[in-house]
């Protein structure tokens, strides 16, 4: 056919629209964020790549009964496939700040079927030097929680990032289909006792790969700098109290939990002189309500295999704790699970003093007994300013 400018223009239009159509169809079918209720691919293959984008939409769509809130400690430590497959939805966001949690809690507790919030709190929630989520991101999060169609189109259909995530979902599916790897998450929430027993056994006795010390050191430098400049923010604390009170006034039970901390992190708190502040903070946490505390010194803090890095917990440990929080039996979960569960303390007004005294005693014992945790932390937390990170750099959990 003879080349003419008009023909060329038409072909350009066809190719451009064709490219967009191809991307749109791919994103619609693979539905990497689980927004479109696509049935072609099971939710279990959608390990959420962009949680900030997908979780708000799925919180609306999946109509859960229990909603998990928090930051990456929860998002990665208690992964839930298929979101509300057992009525539990993990709405935690990596790097979540109070603004984000408020928006998510508000949207969740306005849903009539939501009966329980499980809120994992840590010191980062009420810290004033930690960079807040950019206002435009919080705004976008709120828009998503209101089900903005235009955002759904631009973020989940006409989006190159979504296309890349679609590709990942399809790769995961293909790998699983070809038997190269089982990449789907278990569909039960919390994970079954058999699964937990197997996972924990393999972690503890199977020689799970541990991170090299230099990687740990890099995190210690970051977190140590952050703990050094930690400033408790009263305003944020009041907002946190309001959040819990609002949820309860809407008839939603609020379960507070402090997740396990690795002894390296506890040592970082102690060696940066924040131990007392941490203890006081735990006391004030009762203003929000009684809570489960898995976070102190104890046997689990030294089980390095249960932590993929400095501050996050392995999902198997997360699901053992989730079983406790959901009042599910875990007697068949194995010995390691029992040790994890034994670490958890129900803290309320009558028990707080004894609990804090126990932790203080353990802290004193740690000070007197040389350990590699204390030694490694001391090495990376030396006072060389060039090794400190700035506020702008620290992303938080």
């Amino acid at each position: 056919m003879r080349s003419t400018p008009v023909r060329r223009l038409r072909l350009m239009g066809i190719c451009f629209l064709g490219a967009l159509a191809l991307a749109t169809v791919t994103n619609r079918v693979a539905d990497p964020y689980g927004i479109w209720r696509a049935q072609a691919i099971d939710d279990a293959y959608r390990r959420l790549h962009d949680d900030r984008l997908s979780r708000p939409y799925r919180l609306l769509r999946e109509r859960p009964v229990t909603v998990l809130l928090g930051n990456s400690r929860v998002a990665w430590g208690m992964p839930v496939a298929g979101a509300a497959s057992d009525g539990v939805f993990n709405a935690a966001l990596p790097g979540a700040r109070l603004d984000d949690i408020e928006a998510l809690a508000d949207a969740a507790t306005q849903q009539p079927q939501v009966k329980r919030l499980v809120w994992a709190i840590d010191l980062a929630l009420v810290e004033s030097s930690l960079k807040a989520s950019p206002p435009e991101e919080v705004e976008a999060l709120r828009d998503r929680l209101q089900g903005s169609r235009s955002l759904m189109i631009t973020e989940a259909l006409l989006s190159e990032a979504a296309l890349a995530d679609s590709w990942r979902v399809m790769q995961r599916l293909a790998d699983s289909f070809l038997g190269r790897a089982d990449l789907a998450l278990p569909r039960t929430v919390a994970w079954s006792p058999e699964r937990l027993r197997a996972d924990l056994t393999s972690l503890v006795h199977g020689g799970a790969p541990t991170r090299d010390e230099s990687a740990l050191g890099r995190e210690l430098v970051e977190w140590g700098s952050w703990y050094r400049r930690y400033r408790f923010d009263e305003g944020s604390w009041m907002r946190a109290l309001t959040l819990a009170a609002t949820a309860r006034s809407r008839g939603v039970e609020v379960v507070i939990v402090l997740l396990p901390m690795r002894e390296y992190e506890l040592e970082a708190i102690r060696q940066t002189g924040r131990w007392e502040l941490y203890q006081q903070w735990k006391r004030r946490l009762l203003e929000v309500g009684p809570y489960w505390d898995f976070s102190g010194y104890g046997a689990v803090a030294r089980m390095d295999e249960l932590y993929p890095d400095l501050v996050h917990i392995h999902p198997a440990m997360g699901h053992v704790i989730l079983r406790r929080l959901l009042d599910e039996d875990c007697r068949a979960c194995g010995e390691t699970a029992q040790r994890i569960l034994a670490t958890g303390v129900w803290v309320d007004e009558p028990s707080i003093d004894a609990h804090l005294r126990r932790q203080d005693a353990m802290r004193v014992a740690r000070e007197q007994e040389p350990s590699r945790y204390a030694e490694v932390v001391a090495r990376y937390l030396d006072d060389d300013p060039s090794r400190r990170t700035s506020e702008a750099q620290f992303a938080g959990p």
Binding site: P5, M12, F16, L158, A161
Partner: protein, 469 residues
């Protein structure tokens, strides 16, 4: 309204093209110019209506002043010529004063405070978008009017010359002789499928450079330059190269979009980049990088300074490059960057006189290395940070592959290196476009890929680096 935004691509541009198509049927030149001026003002006002008054004042003032220059020059005798020159100098001074007020007041006050220990409050003056480019074009117009008073353009044409939306914000800087003849061409403003197709393709190339390439490298460069840690060798090189690529793709992408948009409206704009990272010397580099700004400074600053015999060509070169640096921003690091480039240009000029020829590969490597170092100075917020990163480039902070959490890893290098290869070895967009495409399908497929992928990245439009200048 950014070129890389949904508002521009889905609403503004289609409406302008529809209006252009409709008016071109009537072959109505003045209504067409009026339409494009109105569209350009709408485009500018989208950011801030407040600055429309400023730009309107600037356009009205300069047009009237140029008329004054023309009339004085037409007076008989040498007195008229002298009065015209004086009037012209005053007009240029008013323009520079306006630019200076908005762009450099804070910098001057801060410097005075630092040097003298005073505590004058820093004024909060926001630099109106595009003021630097608009001022330069109007200075060119005044000077050209002084040189050739017989040439006259009407006010509406002048308005379009200054405000033409494709190049209003960040160039390319256009000279009157490059634009006005086109506005008077009988074929101008005639809808052409060929121009539209070519313009769309050039625009897509620019959009791809900006959204897919520059915006990918930007956070990686930020990570290193805005971080607090002293970067080790690979991190420092990663950050420096990422910024070197970011600024090129960002600005040349903008220029391509501007040229493409103008081409859709049947107007040709001058090229601004010609594969600058393939330059074999610093002189060569400045002939390929931001060409319209370089030639502006060459013709209106360097040449008059060199001819004035105040301090010779080298001093003129150094002063010119200091001004080029200062034009980019009110900050000491921009001055350092300008001085660095001025020094290299002097060195390059002197070296040429020795007659010693460096092998091409080595000449290119030296030039590219100097460019990366120069952009490291340009991007660093302070001299201390620049020293820190330059020390990293030299390996003085160590050679660990992943020394910090915010470092360059395999993921970044896998994307950085192909882009580097693209700018170092591939022909420029101009060269590619000049080749005849034997297959319409290949041309259309290339367009579909570039435009489609770019469109999918419009969700979070990032402003262009040069908007701040």
């Amino acid at each position: 309204m950014l070129f890389n935004s949904y508002q521009f691509l889905l609403v503004f541009l289609p409406l302008v093209l529809l209006g252009f198509g409709a008016l071109s049927r009537w072959e109505a030149r003045r209504p067409m110019i009026g339409f494009l001026v109105a569209a350009s003002l709408l485009f500018y006002g989208w950011w801030s209506w407040h600055y429309l008054a400023l730009i309107a004042f600037s356009v009205g003032f300069n047009y009237a002043w140029a008329e004054g220059v023309r009339r004085l020059a037409a007076l008989p005798g040498s007195g008229g010529r002298a009065a015209s020159s004086g009037f012209l100098v005053a007009g240029v001074a008013v323009n520079l004063g306006l630019l200076g007020y908005f762009k450099y007041t804070g910098f001057v006050v801060e410097t005075v405070n630092r040097v003298t220990g005073t505590t004058w409050p820093l004024p909060r003056i926001v630099l109106p978008l595009a003021l630097s480019f608009v001022t330069f074009e109007q200075i060119i117009y005044l000077v050209e009017t002084g040189r050739d008073p017989a040439r006259r353009y009407d006010f509406l044409e002048y308005c379009l010359y200054v405000t033409f939306f494709p190049r209003l914000i960040a160039g390319p800087i256009v000279r009157p002789r490059e634009l006005f003849p086109q506005l008077r061409d009988p074929d101008a403003f005639r809808f052409s499928a060929s121009s539209l197709g070519t313009g769309l393709f050039i625009f897509a190339v620019g959009l791809f450079k900006k959204t897919v390439l520059a915006d990918t490298f930007a956070p990686w460069a930020d990570r290193i330059f805005d971080g607090a840690a002293s970067p080790q060798f690979f991190d420092a090189w990663g950050g420096a190269l990422a910024f070197t690529l970011q600024i090129y793709f960002d600005f040349s992408g903008y220029t391509d979009m501007a040229i493409g948009l103008a081409r859709m409206l049947n107007i040709g704009l001058p090229e601004n980049f010609d594969s600058p990272y393939q330059a074999r010397s610093m002189i060569d580099f400045w002939r390929r990088w931001h060409i319209t700004l370089s030639t502006f400074f060459r013709d209106y600053v360097y040449v008059p300074l060199a001819r004035s015999r105040l301090g010779g060509a080298y001093l003129a070169l150094l002063l010119t490059m200091l001004l080029v640096g200062l034009w980019h921003g009110a900050g000491w690091m921009f001055l350092v960057w300008g001085a660095f480039n001025g020094g290299l240009l002097i060195l390059n000029t002197r070296w040429r006189r020795t007659g010693i020829v460096i092998p091409e590969g080595m000449a290119w490597a030296l030039t590219f290395f100097a460019t990366v170092v120069g952009f490291t100075l340009f991007r660093s917020g302070s001299l201390a940070r620049a020293e820190d990163i330059l020390a990293g480039l030299a390996g003085l902070h160590g050679f660990a592959w992943k020394p910090a959490l915010y470092s360059f890893g395999r993921h970044e290098w896998k994307r950085l290196l192909p882009a580097l290869a693209l700018v170092l070895w591939c022909p420029s967009r101009q060269v590619v476009m000049q080749r005849s495409w034997s297959s319409d399908w290949a041309y259309a497929a290339a367009f579909g890929f570039l435009a489609g992928l770019s469109f999918l990245r419009l969700g979070n439009p990032v402003p262009f680096v040069y908007f701040q200048f």
